[in-house]
């Protein structure tokens, strides 16, 4: 091992030591290794946002064909670039609506991750930690729910729309911070009405009896997973019996407005996100899958790009119209980017070295581009932003201290963005 360290340059050696510290203690225990943590404390601006919308492009979103085009570059392929409302900033041709609204958002073009496989990449994006066998980390949504608290007691503070089955959820945290999953945003919250022939009175009597019939089992197994179901009942019933349950029905929205989001599950999911924010949900994640474009990248983009463009543009407009944009941070990210090299199947393969993300809303600059990739879109050229840094930025936008520590059941310490440092430049 010493032999290995000798061969490392200074930066790698520090990274190695930090890694060892983390492996042993869970967090970086050696403050002198923290890159600029003190500088951050002086510069940090208090977060303005109260809520967050987290748009996750599942599968690995190509950066060259979305938010980091290289017009005329050898790796660009057939995707053209268009100019935007901000001088000198260009987006891919599939995003005309966001191009118009470029003055309202920031792009980070120097994202990088060390995970090139989907499972690990998604896990890192959501939790800021690499997956480990001994603990399940908590995703951002659970952190936000816990740190910021539930405003509206009838609705869970954390919701995931169109999510995959592998979502880390609440991880080691209490199950009440776990996301409420909505599988189909158009169908809304299913089974929220009592069965035919069951009156409110019947229902309450039955619930009473469940407690009586079930208490022996609960006494025998007083554990988180078992008790969690009990707590979940109270929450489900509160939601079901409240007026807020209507928020889950996007069909109650004006049909013209609905149409502006696009009819797909992603567009309608974004609309549902706005409706939930109005009911004071803290954190809504909306996913869009199908970005794993190893095959026919450009054909897929021609269909996917406009879908995202339409939905996110409508969401930003709508949040602005309702005043929610002043208290909400909106981000769009993915597990990694896609290779500049176009493969023999006209696709692009996984590319963790560099990719792009968006951030907009409360306290965030408009018309700003942070960092850059090189000419080929292969490596970070300037101002590298790691996954943890990006998540730390979201945390700061929400006013959650990045040094706040939460403990797992076995008393291991964790932070919201691991050792990430917020990107100060995106704050206005």
């Amino acid at each position: 091992m010493l032999e290995q360290i000798k061969n490392f340059d200074e930066v790698s050696r520090r990274a190695f030591a930090a890694h060892m510290a983390k492996a042993c203690f869970g967090v970086g225990m050696l403050p002198w290794l923290g890159t600029g943590a003190q500088a951050f404390a002086q510069q940090a601006k208090p977060g303005k946002a109260k809520k967050a919308i987290y748009l996750f492009m599942s599968g690995g979103m190509t950066h060259l064909d979305t938010f980091d085009p290289k017009p005329g570059g050898e790796t660009q392929g057939p995707t053209k670039a268009i100019s935007t409302s901000v001088n000198g900033v260009r987006l891919s041709e599939h995003f005309p609506k966001l191009a118009e609204r470029m003055n309202k958002l920031s792009i980070v073009r120097s994202m990088t991750t060390n995970q090139g496989a989907h499972a690990q990449g998604r896990y890192l994006a959501h939790t800021s930690y690499a997956p480990r066998a001994t603990v399940r980390h908590a995703a951002m949504g659970a952190w936000v729910a816990k740190a910021k608290g539930q405003i509206n007691k009838n609705v869970p503070a954390n919701v995931v729309i169109n999510g995959g089955s592998d979502h880390p959820g609440a991880g080691y945290m209490d199950l009440k911070f776990a996301p409420l999953p909505i599988g189909n945003p158009t169908a809304g919250l299913q089974n929220s009405k009592l069965l035919g022939g069951v009156t409110e009175k019947d229902f309450n009597r039955r619930l009473n009896l469940v407690a009586k019939f079930g208490n022996q089992f609960l006494a025998r197994y007083p554990y988180k997973e078992v008790q969690g179901y009990g707590d979940m009942y109270a929450e489900a019933i509160r939601l079901m019996q409240s007026e807020d349950v209507k928020a889950f029905d996007v069909k109650q929205e004006d049909s013209k407005l609905r149409a502006t989001y696009g009819s797909g599950n992603f567009g309608q999911g974004c609309l549902l996100a706005r409706r939930l924010l109005e009911r004071d949900v803290r954190f809504v994640e909306v996913q869009l899958g199908g970005w794993d474009t190893h095959v026919d990248n450009f054909e897929t983009l021609a269909e996917k790009g406009p879908q995202v463009d339409t939905a996110v543009a409508a969401l930003l407009d709508d949040l602005e119209r309702t005043g929610l944009l002043d208290e909400t941070v909106v981000v769009l990210t993915s597990e990694f980017g896609r290779s500049p090299k176009i493969n023999e199947r006209v696709g692009r393969d996984h590319h963790p070295a560099v990719y792009s993300s968006l951030i907009a809303g409360a306290g965030i600059k408009g018309g700003y581009v942070h960092g850059a990739s090189d000419d080929r879109g292969h490596f970070v050229d300037d101002d590298e932003v790691t996954v943890a840094d990006f998540n730390a930025t979201i945390a700061q936008a929400l006013g959650i201290p990045t040094d706040r520590i939460e403990y797992s059941a076995s008393k291991r310490p964790f932070k919201i963005a691991n050792d990430g440092v917020p990107v100060q430049a995106v704050f206005s």
């Binding site: 490392f8 990274a15 890694h19 060390n114 995970q115 090139g116 496989a117 989907h118 499972a119 998604r122 066998a133 001994t134 995959g164 089955s165 592998d166 979502h167 080691y172 776990a178 909505i182 599988g183 189909n184 919250l189 299913q190 089974n191 929220s192 009592l194 069965l195 035919g196 039955r206 009896l209 469940v210 009586k212 019939f213 079930g214 089992f217 197994y221 554990y223 997973e225 078992v226 179901y229 009990g230 979940m232 009942y233 489900a236 019933i237 939601l239 079901m240 599950n265 794993d292 190893h294 095959v295 090299k341 199947r345 696709g347 996984h350 590319h351 070295a353 292969h378 059941a409 076995s410």
Partner: protein, 616 residues
């Protein structure tokens, strides 16, 4: 209920494992009996090793599980569903001293085994019945059929890794077609699933803290990279043009046209080896140990490199190497995987980081890997051995994810998987659910045929007929627990017999079934939507409708209220009610006034108690 004979159950238990011989073949039955002794001896050896480990770490065993706990667990673990009330009664009532051994054998021989283990492997292998432009229902069937036949695990994996042909000839080609266009990801999954080693990170770059380099990854991938997935080439293109011309001649609607084209596209897939197409190091290859763009010579990351025989395809050589009894990881991975499936925690965690890892009980790990090889990778025999252990037959203990090694006081307490919950509700709703051919006959499947030898007009005819079939069938089957208050006929099937994976928002997905994107992507976390389903879900209608499995059984109780209560308890919780519960239940019936209302109410209550969803 005593009037119903329990002899039937035990008569069937003598059927040997292969479903090919349904007749009560005395000789084979005797062989099964005879094979029990060595299995029990091996189980005892496991218990010794566990006990030694417990003593060493000062851990006490949990209490022995009583018959009812054992029975419910073993039904769920093997067949994926709770027993029917009748089955529960029969077992609890049986007097045979070795009735647990008999039950294990009986269940391993049942169709439920294949259905349940299919769900497990579908989660591991990320099985979809249709892939990117590929129709893969033959893959689904191939996996089920392999499990039904109890194909030895090494053969099972060898056939997956070396498969060639069309999906209709050989369902195993689905393993590569599932990841069509992503040969590198496919390889990284192969190594993770079957060799317990994570090399995915090395796909893109060397990692200072990981064992494997990008060179290692590419050398390994060179074995499987050259697989060719599309049939035909020129001839196929010609045929497509002929079909296009035929479509033009007929006056087809755009929808009909689309379906004909899909039908043609779905029948172009064929796996073959094109070993002259070489994998090359990436253009941006950045390390001194190889040159960018150079062809990669296949080499395995550990063990002895397989030597390619003349004319032997690289994939075949790789498949032989990977599944060889000499490969130290292959047996260890499956032994550890099935141990975890049965006991709840692996001896090595995670399952895909085995290489170089120390087991929590190294002696036991060694014995299990040895047993797996000695049993010739016979998965049923291996499970039979584990389930006959004393440790398996103890009360479940709770364990949170933790870095502390686990010393197995007993198996862990688990919530049922989404499929187990669904299948248990199906068990309450209908008789013989595995006999349902609902999905097999679905016009939403694309039929297979040889596209080159079929005339273009016949292909168009087939497409048009399929379109008509779908129109007649009406809405796409949702396989929900039916929205109607009084469903006319059950549109129900076991999870294994439905569309793969279930759509987002389906019951199965709400309870954490995998979306089949990532290896073992399912979860068992409670959510508010699960509770809403348990409270208000339409499955309640299915279970209490006339003719449901449970209601048929209840009809036999006639007016005997005590018997009704016992039947409902045995059917849902697999046990008799205790005296407090009996009294409470009698009250429910008294308040409800009508017997039917009472039934509905008690069923609803028990399905909403946590005991229903947990495997103790």
């Amino acid at each position: 209920m005593r009037s119903i004979s329990c002899a039937a159950l035990f008569a069937v238990s003598l059927i040997v494992y292969s479903p090919d011989s349904r007749a009560a073949d005395d000789q084979r039955a005797a062989r099964l009996e005879a094979s029990r002794a060595p299995i029990l001896a091996a189980a005892a050896r496991i218990d010794q090793l566990i006990e030694a480990d417990r003593t060493k770490h000062g851990v006490a065993a949990s209490l022995p599980a009583n018959d009812r706990i054992f029975m419910r667990r073993v039904y769920l673990d093997i067949t994926g569903t709770i027993p029917t009330g009748q089955e529960a009664f029969d077992f609890l009532d049986a007097k045979e001293k070795n009735k647990r051994e008999i039950l294990i054998d009986y269940l391993l021989a049942s169709d439920g085994y294949a259905s349940n283990y299919y769900n497990y492997w579908a989660d591991v292998l990320r099985i979809k019945s249709a892939g990117s432009g590929v129709e893969l229902h033959s893959y689904v069937e191939w996996v089920k059929e392999s499990l039904k036949k109890n194909k030895p695990y090494d053969e099972f994996v060898y056939e997956l890794l070396s498969a060639s042909g069309t999906p209709s000839e050989n369902g195993a080609v689905g393993y590569y077609l599932r990841d069509q266009g992503m040969p590198l990801d496919n390889l990284s999954n192969t190594v993770s699933i079957f060799l317990g080693t994570q090399i995915g990170c090395a796909q893109c770059h060397d990692h200072p803290f990981e064992r494997w380099t990008q060179k290692d990854f590419y050398e390994m991938a060179a074995f499987t990279y050259s697989v060719n997935t599309r049939a035909g080439g020129k001839e196929y293109q010609q045929q497509r043009r002929a079909i296009a011309a035929e479509i033009k001649k007929r006056n087809l609607t755009p929808q009909q046209r689309q379906l004909v084209n899909q039908l043609a596209r779905y029948n172009q897939w064929e796996l073959s080896d094109a070993d002259n197409r070489l994998l090359r190091f990436p253009k941006d290859y950045d390390y001194g140990n190889a040159k960018a763009n150079d062809a990669v010579t296949p080499k395995t990351i550990f063990g002895e490199n397989p030597r390619l025989r003349d004319g032997q395809a690289r994939r075949e050589a790789f498949a032989s190497w990977a599944t060889s009894k000499e490969n130290p990881l292959f047996a260890k991975v499956i032994a550890n995987r099935l141990w975890k499936k049965v006991m709840g925690v692996g001896l090595i965690e995670p399952l895909d980081d085995i290489e170089g890892a120390e087991a929590s009980n190294p002696e036991l790990m060694k014995f299990l890997a040895y047993a797996m090889v000695r049993l010739d990778f016979n998965m049923k025999q291996y499970l039979r051995m584990l389930m006959n252990t004393d440790v398996y037959q103890r009360r479940a203990v709770y364990r949170e994810v933790s870095e502390e090694p686990f010393h197995f006081p007993g198996p862990t307490l688990r919530r049922m998987t989404a499929e187990q919950i669904w299948d248990s509700l199906v068990t309450l709703s209908m008789n013989e659910p595995l006999a349902s051919t609902y999905e097999q006959n679905s016009p939403y499947r694309f039929p297979y045929f040889d596209i080159q030898s079929t005339s273009p007009s016949a292909i168009v005819d087939r497409g048009v007929a399929l379109y008509k079939d779908r129109q007649n069938r009406g809405k796409k089957p949702s396989m929900s627990m039916s929205g109607a208050k009084k469903p006319t006929g059950p549109s129900l099937a076991r999870a294994s017999e439905m569309r793969q994976p279930a759509a987002a928002g389906h019951f199965l997905r709400d309870f954490g079934a995998s979306d089949r994107e990532l290896i073992s992507g399912s979860n068992r976390d409670p959510t508010v939507s699960q509770i809403l389903t348990l409270i208000n879900g339409k499955h309640h209608y299915q279970i209490v409708r006339e003719g449901s499995q449970l209601m048929e059984l209840l009809a036999k109780a006639d007016r005997d209220q005590k018997l009704r209560i016992r039947i409902i308890y045995l059917s849902i919780l697999g046990r008799e009610p205790n005296s407090t519960e009996s009294r409470l239940a009698m009250n429910v019936f008294a308040q409800a006034k009508q017997a039917n209302r009472g039934n509905r109410e008690l069923i609803w209550i028990l399905l909403n108690t946590p005991e229903f969803m947990f495997i103790q």
